[in-house]
Each structure stands twice: as C-alpha cells, then as structure tokens.
C-alpha cells in the first residue's frame, strides 16, 4: 500500500530494549496497557522505526501515560487534544513518525471533534485508541463506549446512553485505514505494522482490559474458550472465515446486510463467503456495524485505501504559492500604496508613479464650501 513512505524512510536497526525508558510504569498490575506497550515496543524494531524520528503524542487518561514509557520523543498533552497537537508537530516537520495514543474518553468524548477532523484531513499518523469502555484514570465512570446499563459511580442505576462505535465513527469521519485488535492478541504487532505502513491517518481500535474498573468486558470474544466463535480475523484476499473455518460471513443479497453462513467441508465458495478486500469501503461499513453476539468481532485490518495525506497537500500548496517569490522583509513591509515624505516639492513624474508618490510635506490643500 505504502511504497512511498517505506522508500523514503530509511530502516533503522533497533531491538525492543532500545525502546524502553527508565521510567517506572504506573499502570495497575494486570492492566491491558502493559501488553499494548510491549506490542508497540516489539513492532517498532520490526518496522525499522527510528527512535529519534518517532513522536508519541497523547492526551490524558491511563492510556495517555504511554509516551513516558517509549524511548523516543514524547508529548503528554491535555485531555482530548492530542490529534490537534500532533497536527502541528507533523505540519512543522513532515519527516517525523507521529503516533497518537488516546482512550475512549480522551479520543471520543472530550476530543471527539479533533479525532473527526484529523481523520477527515487524513494527517499521516497512527492513532491508537485504547478502548476499555470506561474512564480509568478518573476511577471508573462510564465512557462514550460503555454499553447501556453499565453501573459505575456516576451511573449507579446503569448508564442509559447509547454507546459510540469507534470504528464506525472513524469511517464516518472519512478514515482511510481502520483496524481492530485487543491488548493481548498475538496479531497486534502485525496490525500496528500495517497501520505504520499506511500513508495517511491510520485508526486502530485496541480493546483493552481495565482490570480495576471494567474487568473482562471483552471476555466474550477475547477469552480462549470464546475466541473461535467470537473472533473474525480479516486478511486481505482471504475468505472471511471463523470458528475454525466452519463459519463465514456472506452477503444477504435480499436484505443487503451481512449474514453468518455455515461452511461445510471447507467449501466456503459455495457458501458465498466474502473474500476480504481492504479497499472495499461499503463492506468495511458493514463489518464495523456487525452486532456482536449475532456476529463475531471483526478484527485485523478492516479497511486500507490510501488517499493523499494532509501534510503532503499543505507542503505542496505552500511550495506552489511560494514559487517564484523571494522572502525579502524590507520589500514586504514596503508593500501597498506608499509615499515618500521629503523636504522639498515633488516632481510631476514622481507624482504620477502609483507605487511611490512624492508628496510635498510643506503643502496640502483642503477646499471647503464657504458662505456667500
């Protein structure tokens, strides 16, 4: 997908250790954030990332502590605003690899607006949204992704709001790359590498277990015993099979929706199972909208169709508008209609010059209507 970036970014050889900082990690023992951190630190050497060019920008939340633990440049900003800060970083220096780390509250509640705009602009960056369906850092209030009925200190009777679907929101905002994984999934590094290799905004929803305030909310598909029925791992060019290949996803041509079909003896073709095409936006919409329970959870790279990125467009336009012009401060401040104040009278020639007019400072006339 991404030959341009891989060509221009020289590979740097590093090992996992090079990406660890000396800072004490301050997540609760057993928090899913640890696994995600390790997966990222494992991915960075694999993709040949350069520590000096990597910038991790985060908002506020447990998840947003992430930059402190990665040996690269890091900016822990303010609640919800990481995409906006990252936009400035990338526009100021398009050579940098920008990673945004955010939470379901940070990225979809207070920062939902910025998430929408960074996606529609398509800034080249990776957006890792750690979705634990809860406000972890503030001690467990329900979040915009919490399921209806979630009981928390601020919703003792159960939350009544309808949850947001991060991937559907991202697609609706114009994202050109959508992927999904969970904290301890083996495939997470591969998903992160795909996000890195996509030029443009790459949105990755990572289900993350907050063992203190929202323990095991994803167990229905992440637990080993539920994995076969609950997980649909998507792969480009491969049929959408799950449950050890005995079930697949097909198109219900009457209803124009997806449906689960039985696959007998591996004959997925005759069952009508869809072959995953990461560039098919319509199917991507249907995949992220599949109600869990009736369907498995779609995981992996759901959509990947690059489009020109924002910072590239800005750089190109700036160059175009500046082309042929020179930066001359003295000329700049002297622009517009100017005139010279001099000690003596002006010549007619100078008077007629529209750029610079010599006006005699010793005389000016005002003609006023007088009584008869």
């Amino acid at each position: 997908m991404n030959d341009m970036t891989t060509l221009t970014k020289p590979r740097v050889e590093t090992v996992l250790k090079d990406w660890e900082t000396d800072q004490e990690v301050r997540w609760c023992p057993g928090c899913g954030d640890y696994a995600i951190l390790k997966a990222v630190q494992r991915t960075l050497p694999q993709i040949g990332a350069d520590p000096k060019n990597a910038v991790f920008v985060s908002g506020i939340g447990c998840s947003s502590r992430f930059p402190y633990y990665v040996e690269s440049y890091g900016f822990h900003t303010i609640h919800g605003r990481a995409p906006a800060v990252a936009t400035g970083v990338k526009l100021a220096n398009p050579e940098l690899d920008v990673w945004i780390v955010t939470g379901d509250g940070d990225g979809l509640s207070i920062g939902g607006n910025h998430t929408m705009h960074i996606l529609r602009r398509n800034l080249d960056c990776q957006i890792l949204l750690f979705n634990n369906e809860i406000y972890g850092l503030t001690k467990g209030q329900y979040s915009p992704t919490s399921r209806e009925g979630t009981r928390t200190p601020s919703s003792p009777g159960g939350s009544v709001d309808h949850p947001a679907k991060p991937c559907a929101f991202a697609l609706g905002s114009g994202a050109r790359f959508i992927a999904r994984a969970y904290d301890v999934s083996r495939q997470l590094p591969a998903v992160l590498a795909a996000a890195y290799n996509h030029k443009g905004a790459a949105f990755v929803e990572i289900f993350q277990n907050c063992i203190v305030y929202n323990k095991d909310v994803f167990a229905d598909f992440t637990e080993k015993k539920n994995a076969d029925e609950g997980q649909l791992w998507l792969e480009q060019g491969k049929p959408m099979l799950f449950s050890k290949g005995t079930k697949g996803i097909a198109l219900d041509r009457e209803a124009l929706t997806l449906k689960v079909v039985e696959v007998v003896d591996g004959d997925w073709q005759s069952a009508g199972v869809i072959v995953h095409d990461v560039t098919n936006r319509s199917v991507a919409h249907m995949l992220v909208e599949m109600p869990f329970g009736l369907f498995p959870m779609a995981l992996g790279v759901i959509y990947d169709a690059p489009a020109p990125s924002f910072e590239q467009a800005v750089v190109e336009q700036n160059a175009k508008l500046a082309a042929g012009k020179t930066a001359d401060l003295q000329k700049l401040v002297s622009q517009g209609q100017t005139w010279t104040v001099s000690a003596g009278p002006a010549t007619d020639a100078a008077r007629r010059n529209t750029a610079v007019r010599d006006i005699p400072a010793w005389i000016a006339w005002a003609r006023l209507i007088r009584p008869s």
């Binding site: 900082t21 800072q23 000096k52 060019n53 910038v55 930059p67 402190y68 690269s72 440049y73 890091g74 900016f75 822990h76 303010i78 605003r81 906006a84 800060v85 936009t87 400035g88 970083v89 990338k90 526009l91 100021a92 220096n93 050579e95 607006n113 910025h114 705009h117 500046a322 020179t326 930066a327 401060l329 003295q330 700049l332 401040v333 002297s334 622009q335 517009g336 209609q337 100017t338 005139w339 010279t340 104040v341 001099s342 000690a343 008077r351 007629r352 529209t354 006006i359 005699p360 400072a361 010793w362 000016a364 006339w365 005002a366 003609r367 006023l368 209507i369 007088r370 009584p371 008869s372």
Partner: protein, 623 residues
C-alpha cells in the same frame, strides 16, 4: 437635476481659521460600500501628505436588512497637519447616504458641521425604516447644521447611463460618485482611485468604467457647485512628520508583518493556527498569503485545536502562533497552561472585543486584561504586551516573538477591534535596524547529560526538536522535576518549579524602562494608559498641558511583567488617572503591584474614548 443648497457655510470654526484637522464621516447602508469609500479616501489623504487616523464602525450583521438603523455602516477619518492620534471626536462633515445613516450619526456632528445627504434615498419607505415621522431634510430639524442635499442616486444613474448597467448595479456606483465629490472637496487627485478601480475590476472592465465615470461625475458636480456657491480654499498646514517612506497600515496587517519579521529575526519557520472570529480573522487572512516567508497557516476545527496545533509546531521547532478574540481566548486557556508547563515558545494574539460571551463582536473594548494576566488555572505566569496603535503593533509583534523564544514561554499580545481595523500612516521601518535573535536549538548531549529542564541565565530551558539524535525525552503537562523534566509530584519540587516559572517571567522586566510619553517624570498628575487609548489620552494631555496643567502621559506596553522602574516612576506623581475601556482592570493591577491610589476612568460603550472625556477627567482631578 438637483442643485446644491444655497445655505452653506464653513463647517469649521472661525472664518479664516486654518483648520488643524478635519473629521469626515461616511455613513450609509452596509450595502453602500462605505468602508471601501472610506478606505480609498484614506489612501488619497495619505497621498496628500496629511497625518490621519480612521475608525471603521460596521454592523455585526453581514447583510443587515437594507435601510434599517442597525444596518448602518460608517467610516470616520481624522486628518490634518498636526500629529493625529485619534479618529477625532465629533465629525465636521457627515456624508449620509440614507435616512438611517443620518439618524444614527447626525447626533455626533459638530454644531455648524456640514451634512451631505442623498435625497434620492429619502423615500417614504426609507424614512419609515429609519423611524422618521417627517423628512428631516425638509422639516427644519437639522437647522443646527449646514445641509447640502441633492439626489446623488439620480446623478449617479445619469452618469453611468452609457454603460447599460441594470438599475441595481448602476446604483452601486453611488459610493464612487460620493467619493468623487469628497475628493473635489479636499482637492485630491482621482488618479490613484482610478488605478485602484481598474485593478479591482480588471475582469469586468465595464464595471470599472462605470465606477470611474461616477467618480468623475461626482468630482465634476463639485466643480459645478463651485460655480453656484462661492468657495474659498483653505490652507491646511503640513503634518510635521519624519522624512521617509510611508504607507498606511491596519493593526491586523501590522501584526501579521511583525509576526513574519519576528519569526525571521528568530530564524524560524512560523506556524499559525487559527479559527475565524471577528476581529481576529484578518491576521489569519494576511498570513495565509505569505507562504514564501516560511509561514504555514492552519485553519483548525476550533480555537483549542488552533492553539494546540501551534504548541505542537513549536515543540517540533517552528514558532507557533495563534490568534483569537475574547471567546476564543477563553477556550485556549487550558492549552496556554500546557505551553507554560512544557515551557515552549508561543505567541497568542488577542484582538479584544466587547464582552462577556459573544458580547459586541464588531466593537472595541479592553476588557480581557484580567483574562490575559490572570485567566488560567494554577499559578500560570505569562508575559503580556499591548499595542497602542496599528503601527505600534508591528514592533509589539516582534517583541512578543523575541520574548517567546528567548524565555521559552507563551506570550500574549493584546490589541483590540479598534487597532485591528483602523488604518494609520506608518513610516516603513528599516529592517536592518532590528537586532536578530536567532534561536539555537540544543543539538548534542551537553556535558553532564541531557537535562531538558536545565536553565540558562534567563532561566529558560533548552529547546530540543524531535528528530535530533540522542536527545529523546518526554514532556507534558504533569509537574516536571527540576532539571530532568521527569514527572515529579513531590511538595518541594512543586514549590521549586512554581517559583522558577514565576521568576523566569518576572525576569523579563530586567532592563525594561518605562518612559514618559509626554510631560515630566514627576508632577501633579500622571495619566497612565495601555493599548488603544493612546491616541485620546495623548491629545487630552496635550490640550491640558497647553492650558498650563501639570499633567503627564505614561503609556505601558509591557503589561506583565511591568517595567522595573514603574513603581518608582508612579511614586513621583501626586495623582494617577487610568482611563480604560473596561471597568478598571489595569487600575487594579497597578494598585496591587504598587499600592498606589490609581483612579479609574472607564468607558464601556464599545466606542473609543473621546479626547474631551479624558480632558474633562484631567481637569476634574486638577481642579
């Protein structure tokens, strides 16, 4: 065809008096092009060598219903021979394009002043819209003034007939007809306006020609009227200004140019993040056209994203700049704290307008001073400087950039709606006379290891760009450890860091000397101002001094930290008067800092001070 009224007299005091200055106000419907007319008249005035100041005053509505009182748009210009620092108190001449314009403006006109009115617009319908029961041009209610009323509409239609424009389009040329008359009145050349029209309507030459014809017709009408009414030429003495190259500049232009100059002097690319808001948008517009100066402009999704992106850009090694007006500045508050905590350079321009909330979007006020100095959570010290005039805004913008990069701090630059929109002549500066302050990024591991929060003699920390080898580090809004910049919540460390941030900003005052703009270093009364009140204070103090009063004018650019000698200076006066377009914010700061009995003079009408108002307060205090 209408003829000029016969009963016209000099609108200025004294038959043979030489006017020091003339104030003209153009007023019409917001669709009548009064701002354009005023702008072109300003240009011709500048070209005639007069000093000048302008005050554009337009409605908040883009297209207010035609003919209504709230749809009136006005442009005032004060020009003349002495140094002009205000748009003038009362106009000598009012050009009223319709009944609503007459009604809303005539009250300001000097007694004996001249009204020029377009009878063609004084229809029954328009009179009703302006809430006139009888036609004021006919009922004698304007007897206090001189009246020159004739059918400008019909004269305009007549003059553009050959161009075959529709009635509506043809009437649009009315403002040029009126401008032609005004140019004749003050013996101004039409040439630059003709050039401007040709350039403006290059793609529609017939429109250009029609406008030029209207301009010429208005001028010719003046010549004819000259025959009908005896006219005497008055000699206006020259403005005694420094020799050199001049141009007109608005505050918004001057700030944009100053920011570009500041970034160049710092040897940095500039990143400007903005979100449209009146009256700050003009800066975004100007900078968007200056890409060849290494300027990147970003129209963000809101003010928070605008400042956050500017902080991100500063972090990555550009000079981050953001700009807004009161409501947007309020939204930026939390992010300013982030810039203070991460000690990154940033310039925040606040073009103040009437508040609170949406307030008076197109009117001027100085009521964001508390917000600028105090308006953030935590002990969050931030330098604040204020521009006094459109031209002064250029140097202030450079100063803001210098402080930001030398002290690694956000800086707020205060202007207001008046400065942003008003135009004044500006002596083009010699850029070679500005000392560069090129930024040195940290690009190697210093002796003793990397310490992102180590400090230089100004207490500034090093600026380290991502992309620099071996200097990877993390910053953020959580309290930093002294020197290392690691997270540290310990009581002693927070105490030390809070004091460091305070002392760093206070240190900017070192070497800042406050001078006296006019008058003496001690005396009976000091009038202390800041920002756009400069003009009226200056004139009022001048008038009072001419009358023999012991009064001086001190005008403060550095609002925070205040100049190091200010306390001592203020102690030398018996009384202190602080005129402000708010309820007394700077007065409170002065009282707090110096325990002085600063007396407030407040105006919160959305309009600049009149000279007479300040003069009266001075006389009241010295009585």
């Amino acid at each position: 065809m209408a003829t000029a009224a016969s009963k016209t007299t000099v609108p200025l005091a004294g038959d043979d008096a030489v006017p020091e200055a003339v104030v003209v106000r153009f007023a019409g419907d917001s669709g009548d092009g009064m701002q354009l007319t005023g702008g072109q008249f300003t240009l011709s005035t500048a070209l005639a060598g007069n000093d000048l100041a302008t005050f554009p005053d337009f409605p908040a509505e883009i297209r207010a219903p035609q003919g209504t009182l709230f749809g009136v748009s006005a442009f005032q210009i004060n020009f003349g021979s002495s140094d002009i620092t205000t748009a003038g108190d009362a106009p000598d001449i009012l050009i009223a394009m319709n009944p609503a314009a007459l009604k809303t403006n005539v009250g300001d006109l000097k007694p004996g002043g001249l009204i020029i009115a377009d009878t063609g617009e004084f229809s029954d319908r328009n009179l009703v819209k302006a809430k006139y029961e009888k036609n004021p041009l006919e009922d004698g209610s304007l007897a206090r003034w001189q009246l020159l009323a004739f059918d400008i509409s019909a004269l305009t239609l007549e003059s553009v007939k050959p161009f075959g424009l529709g009635n509506k389009e043809a009437l649009r040329c009315k403002n040029m007809w009126t401008l032609g008359l005004a140019l004749w009145l003050f013996d101004r050349s039409r040439e630059p306006i003709v050039d401007w029209l040709k350039a403006k309507f290059a793609k529609a030459p017939e429109i250009a020609d029609a406008n030029i014809a209207a301009l010429n017709a208005g001028h010719a009408y003046g010549e004819t009227a000259e025959l009908a009414v005896p006219v005497k030429q008055l000699h206006v003495a020259p403005a005694s200004v420094l020799e050199g190259l001049y141009r007109t500049v608005t505050g918004a232009e001057a700030i944009s140019l100053g920011l570009v100059a500041g970034a160049q002097l710092a040897d940095l690319p500039m990143f400007f993040g903005g979100y449209p808001i009146t009256p700050a948008s003009a800066i975004l517009h100007h900078l968007s056209r200056l890409k060849e100066y290494g300027v990147t402009t970003f129209q963000a999704e809101d003010e928070i994203a605008a400042i956050a992106s500017a902080i991100g850009a500063s972090y990555a090694g550009s000079l981050g700049v953001t700009s807004s007006s009161g409501p947007g500045i309020a939204l930026k508050g939390e992010a300013m704290g982030l810039a203070i905590m991460t000690e990154l350079p940033l310039v925040i321009v606040n073009s103040q307008r009437g508040g609170p909330s949406t307030g008076l979007p197109t009117k001027t006020e100085q009521s964001d001073l508390y917000q600028a100095v105090y308006g953030r959570n935590g002990d969050a010290p931030m330098p604040v400087i204020a521009a006094r005039s459109p031209a002064d805004a250029f140097d202030c913008a450079i100063e803001a950039c210098r402080i930001a990069v030398q002290y690694m701090t956000p800086v707020m630059l205060l202007t207001d709606g008046y400065i942003a929109n008003a135009a004044e002549p500006w002596r083009v500066p010699d850029m070679a006379s500005y000392d560069p302050f090129a930024v040195q990024f940290l690009d190697h591991v210093p002796e003793g290891g990397l310490k992102p929060y180590a400090r230089d003699e100004k207490l500034a920390r090093p600026w380290i760009k991502p992309g620099t080898p071996d200097l990877m580090h993390r910053i953020g809004g959580i309290e930093k450890e002294v020197n290392t910049g690691h997270i540290n919540y310990s009581p002693a460390n927070h105490q030390a860091m809070t004091e460091l941030r305070r002392d760093k900003v206070l240190g900017i005052a070192k070497g800042l000397r406050q001078d006296v703009s006019m008058g003496n270093e001690t005396g009976k009364l000091a009038v202390v101002g800041w920002g756009s009140t400069f003009g009226p204070i200056h004139q009022a103090v001048r008038r009072a001094r001419r009358k023999g009063h012991d009064v001086s004018h001190i005008h403060i650019r550095h609002i925070w930290p205040l100049p190091e000698n200010l306390g001592e200076l203020l102690a030398g006066y018996d009384q202190i008067l602080v005129p402000e377009m708010n309820t007394g914010q700077f007065k409170t700061v002065l009282r707090d800092q110096y325990l002085v009995d600063a007396k407030p003079l407040n105006k919160i009408s959305g309009q600049p001070f009149r000279i007479a108002e300040i003069e009266a307060a001075i006389e009241g205090m010295l009585a």
